[in-house]
């Protein structure tokens, strides 16, 4: 006598929950029970259309339709409207989810399942193409798997954009009885959340990528190094790992083969530098996260001195689709030396903040205007920081730059992990430059002087310049300091901190003048 229940999707993702999605789910469940409604709640991940969160979806004959934002204060009214009877009768009705323009204009390869499936349902995962890449890989020789990844053109998505296949080749070619795969899930860059989304919304894709990597290079142990700041990702990943073990996708004889792979989740402890791969390895070994000098490369002597693949979450989660659909298919997307797609993350003062997975080659302006829709405050946009705290601040004159690693390097900027943080015209760029130095001082591992001491001096110099104390002289000193940090630091923490600082000085020089205090600028939004 029980009729089939209609599925209503309520996201469970950090940002959706930060806007009340858990509360919304509780209230809907109360309505279902009280009124015996023919509905069943599914907690999916987020589609990443964050200005619409909490975005609910309802299963209909035409496909899933969306409503949003349904915040906790609107949910009673939403349930009273009984949308499951006539789905389009609601002011917050958004139409078929797949037809929402913001989503439709993307090329979701790595994020194909994100927000669609219930994150830790193995059944959902398999129904949506999951483990097709692993099945292909299990029938291939290790060299063929590595060559496939090399041919796809995939470059590391953690920031340094090093070709993933070439890194794997080194590990494959280094003979050793013990090799490791380490997933870099430290995602420390401000303005980035794509790793978090994969881990919260489609964790099996990361696990599948890790298993394929292990198979390719001959590793039988892996670690995911996750930042402590991501408690929900931790919970979902641990659950996914348990499910994978219980179903023969981790442990001995994976998917019926004679290949074994063990995977463990480890937590960081609030240190940005532990995202740097050698610092991360130190941390995994139970030590202070001090950067190692290279060589040796981790691929030759990494975790506990053994050959180790270190890859970012997105790099690894992209591997399954490359194996499933072939290198040729993946590398058809993109431009120049940048093949495939990058999940951009729109953040900061932007109207339509969210995840935008696009093939390389669009312009930054396409992202900011066509997707982002300008600032959230409604004021003119003034500066955009791309690529995290070590990335340049770009003025409008540079927004036509193509989203391409090389094109960004050409303008002394970086694409990094794809974070895009917009600022309106209330920003004081001297404060931003000062913060870049301050952040470096706070997060420096302390191993080398240009970074450890230079960053502290950098803060002092910027303070002096802005206070009008011998600004011309101190500006020369600051440029000297930037030169030293850029050229004499052991790693990119000290080495790249000058990038945002110099970009602010170059493009927004007026903000460093004495009387350019906040008073002379429009006041920030309330």
């Amino acid at each position: 006598m029980t009729a089939a229940l209609t599925k209503i999707y309520v996201p469970r993702d950090t940002t959706a929950c930060s806007l009340g999605a858990d509360r919304v789910a509780v209230v809907i469940q109360q309505h279902i029970e009280k009124n015996q409604l023919p509905l069943e709640i599914v907690r999916n991940g987020s589609r990443g259309l964050y200005w619409l969160e909490p975005m609910l979806e309802l299963e209909t004959e035409q496909g899933r339709v969306a409503y949003g934002p349904i915040t906790p204060d609107k949910v009673d009214e939403f349930m009273a409207a009984a949308c499951w009877l006539r789905s389009d009768q609601h002011p917050l009705y958004l139409g078929l989810t797949e037809d929402i323009d913001y989503l439709k204009r993307q090329q979701r390869l790595t994020f194909a399942r994100v927000g669609v499936i219930a994150p830790t349902s193995l059944e959902d995962y398999c129904q949506h193409g999951g483990f097709a890449g692993l099945r292909t890989a299990l029938a291939m020789k290790p060299q063929a798997i590595v060559s496939c990844v090399t041919d796809s053109g995939l470059r590391g998505r953690g920031g340094a954009a090093f070709p993933t296949g070439i890194k794997w080749q080194t590990v494959l070619d280094t003979a050793s009885p013990q090799k490791y795969i380490v997933c870099n899930a430290d995602e420390g860059d401000s303005g980035t959340y794509s790793d978090r989304m994969i881990m919260e919304s489609d964790p099996f894709s990361l696990l599948e990528g890790l298993i394929i990597a292990a198979l390719a290079v001959g590793a039988d142990r892996g670690y995911i190094y996750l930042r402590e700041e991501y408690p929900l990702a931790e919970e979902v990943l641990n659950r996914a790992i348990d499910v994978a073990y219980a179903n023969g996708y981790l442990g001995k004889a994976i998917a019926g083969s004679n290949f074994s792979f063990d995977l463990e989740l480890r937590l960081g402890a609030g240190a940005y530098i532990c995202g740097e791969e050698t610092s991360m390895l130190e941390s995994l070994e139970g030590k202070r996260g001090e950067v190692r000098s290279k060589p040796p490369l981790p691929a030759i002597s990494g975790l506990f001195g053994q050959p180790t693949v270190v890859n970012n979450v997105i790099s690894l989660a992209t591997v399954p689709i490359i194996l499933a659909q072939g290198a040729e298919h993946y590398q058809r997307y993109g431009a120049g030396r940048c093949r495939g797609t990058l999940p951009f993350q729109l953040a900061g003062n932007i109207k339509y903040a969210g995840l935008v997975e696009l093939a390389f080659g669009y312009s930054l302006r396409d992202l900011l205007e066509d997707f982002g829709g300008g600032t959230r405050s409604g004021r003119p946009m003034r500066a955009v920081q791309v690529g995290g705290p070590l990335g340049a601040y770009l003025p409008e004159s540079q927004w036509d730059t193509a989203l391409d690693y090389e094109a960004f390097i050409e303008i002394d900027a970086v694409l990094g992990h794809g974070g895009v943080v917009a600022f309106d015209d209330t920003v004081d760029m001297s404060e931003q430059a000062r913060f870049s130095m301050e952040f470096c001082a706070i997060e420096s591992c302390g191993k080398c002087t240009p970074c450890r001491i230079g960053s502290v001096r950098g803060v002092e110099l910027i303070d002096k310049i802005c206070a009008g104390k011998a600004p011309a002289q101190n500006s020369i000193l600051l440029e000297d300091l930037c030169y030293t940090m850029a050229n004499a630091s052991l790693c990119a923490m000290g080495g790249m901190t000058p990038i945002p600082v110099r970009s602010a000085l170059e493009h927004f020089a007026e903000d460093f003048e004495v009387d350019a205090g906040p008073a002379s600028r429009p006041s920030p939004q309330a």
């Binding site: 950090t14 940002t15 929950c17 930060s18 806007l19 990443g48 964050y50 200005w51 969160e53 995602e187 420390g188 860059d189 401000s190 303005g191 980035t192 959340y193 790793d195 978090r196 402590e228 700041e229 991501y230 408690p231 929900l232 480890r266 937590l267 960081g268 402890a269 609030g270 240190a271 940005y272 941390s283 995994l284 070994e285 139970g286 030590k287 202070r288 001090e290 506990f304 993350q345 953040a347 900061g348 003062n349 903040a353 969210g354 920081q385 705290p389 974070g419 943080v421 917009a422 309106d424 920003v427 404060e431 931003q432 913060f435 952040f439 706070i442 997060e443 920030p524 939004q525 309330a526």
Partner: protein
């Protein structure tokens, strides 16, 4: 955060139990410190020698690790831990003003605990919630679009005693 019995003997028993359970993990020190902080809310300095002995490390090494990581703390936190994101995306949406407001409202600075022991205020650099900046984390809950008013109502909801949010 659990038990909260504060006797040194119980702390010692606890850490010995944790060491016994985790010492065979490769690179066991961080997992042990995490578990200890999960249980006690902090890493009592008096336990460092016990950990050092258990893992065959020097005391200086253990201290070096505990002090390297911002997350590990060596004194007990307040009943709630409030982290305010200080990173760029949140700056773009007014987190600098929120930082000032929070310190005034709780009458304590970053890394301090309010006088009534309710709140420890901490800085954090990105919570991955940058699509809804400014972001704040309390325990394991993250909040988005936090302005001064939202901060005050959060604090009010968390307070056990009457707080004067100014």
């Amino acid at each position: 955060m659990g038990l909260a019995s504060n006797s040194p003997l119980e702390h010692e028993n606890l850490v010995e139990r944790i060491i016994k359970e985790l010492q065979d993990l490769p690179g066991a020190l961080l997992p042990i410190l995490h578990r200890l902080q999960d249980e006690l809310g902090f890493i009592p300095p008096a336990l460092l020698p016990v950990i050092a002995t258990g893992l065959n490390l020097s005391r200086a090494e253990v201290h070096g690790v505990v002090s390297f990581y911002h997350y590990f703390r060596s004194s007990p936190p307040g009943r709630n831990t409030i982290q305010i994101c200080r990173a760029e995306s949140c700056q773009a949406m007014g987190s600098r003003a929120l930082e000032v407001h929070a310190q005034r409202a709780l009458r304590c600075k970053f890394n301090q605990t309010s006088a009534d022991g309710e709140f420890t205020l901490l800085a954090v650099y990105c919570l991955g919630n940058c699509a809804c900046s400014p972001a704040v984390r309390v325990g394991d809950e993250v909040y988005g679009h936090v302005d001064a008013a939202k901060f005050d109502s959060l604090v009010a909801a968390l307070s056990t005693s009457e707080v004067q949010v100014k």
